[in-house]
């Protein structure tokens, strides 16, 4: 599905320090219904832009896209991004039309899951502090993993 061998796939929920990071969108809305407002052009995720999120962390304010790290990422099982699998399996669509996303042609989630991923994508917030069991399960954070990730 649209995967070009010349262009590496991109992760649509990337961390700022990942290679070639760009701003994919900004989190809008309230806690109950946060949605991504997608940028309609390429904007690199520079330090100047990312620091505008302070005192929040970039992942709470921005959605970033960057090169998919495949085997370096906890969600990649060697063939597929299991985060994308869980998003499609466990979350409901939040739009009826494809969002105006600039990376679709090279998006890992779209290449793997197709339109179903796009219809759920606007609700994904990369750094999510909500105490929501479904979100934790989608993120692949079992109670044990969540405990491991907590800072003391």
């Amino acid at each position: 599905m649209g995967q070009s061998p010349e262009r590496p796939l991109r992760c649509p929920s990337a961390q700022p320090e990942m290679p070639d990071a760009q701003i994919l969108g900004v989190v809008r809305g309230d806690t109950e219904e946060r949605r991504i407002a997608y940028l309609n052009e390429f904007v690199p995720a520079t330090a100047d832009i990312l620091t505008q999120a302070a005192p929040a962390i970039p992942g709470e304010v921005f959605r970033l896209a960057a090169r998919c790290e495949t085997g370096k990422c906890t969600h990649f099982d060697g063939e597929r991004c299991q985060l994308a699998v869980r998003i499609v399996d466990m979350l409901s669509p939040v739009t009826e039309q494809l969002p105006p996303c600039t990376i679709r042609k090279t998006c890992r989630w779209y290449a793997q899951e197709g339109r179903a991923a796009c219809l759920r994508c606007p609700q994904v917030v990369t750094a999510n502090n909500e105490d929501d069991e479904v979100i934790r399960r989608v993120a692949g954070a079992s109670p044990a993993a969540a405990q491991s990730a907590q800072r003391t």
């Binding site: 990337a14 999120a53 039309q97 491991s148």
Partner: protein, 106 residues
């Protein structure tokens, strides 16, 4: 339903300020309790490992020697029913490395 309206680069600053303001109203926690998307553990995926007892030492070396680790907490996560331990990761493999400091960009 999402409204599917995109924003331009010139609108980005205002959107970010609005997002930060909403987080401030909600109350930004002093430290995130969890970073739920990838990759919150940096290190190596070990698909074919030898002696699990050696993994903590390997994780410590990763955390100590990798420049980006900056003294992060060494960690190994073992997944899958075969290991009988925490099913934190898919695929029955091990990630051995360090936990990224979630406040690194604060």
């Amino acid at each position: 339903m999402a409204d599917n309206k995109s924003i331009s680069a010139t609108e980005l600053g205002a959107e970010v300020r609005a997002a930060v303001a909403k987080l401030a109203i909600k109350g930004i926690p002093p430290e995130p309790t969890i970073i739920v998307h990838p990759p919150w553990i940096w290190g190596f995926i070990l698909r074919d490992f030898g002696n699990p007892a050696e993994l903590p030492a390997l994780a410590s070396r990763v955390a100590a020697e990798l420049p980006s680790a900056k003294g992060g907490t060494p960690v190994t996560l073992i997944a899958g029913p075969a290991t009988g331990t925490a099913a934190a990761l898919p695929g029955g493999h091990i990630i051995c490395g360090y936990i990224r400091d979630p406040n690194i960009f604060r």
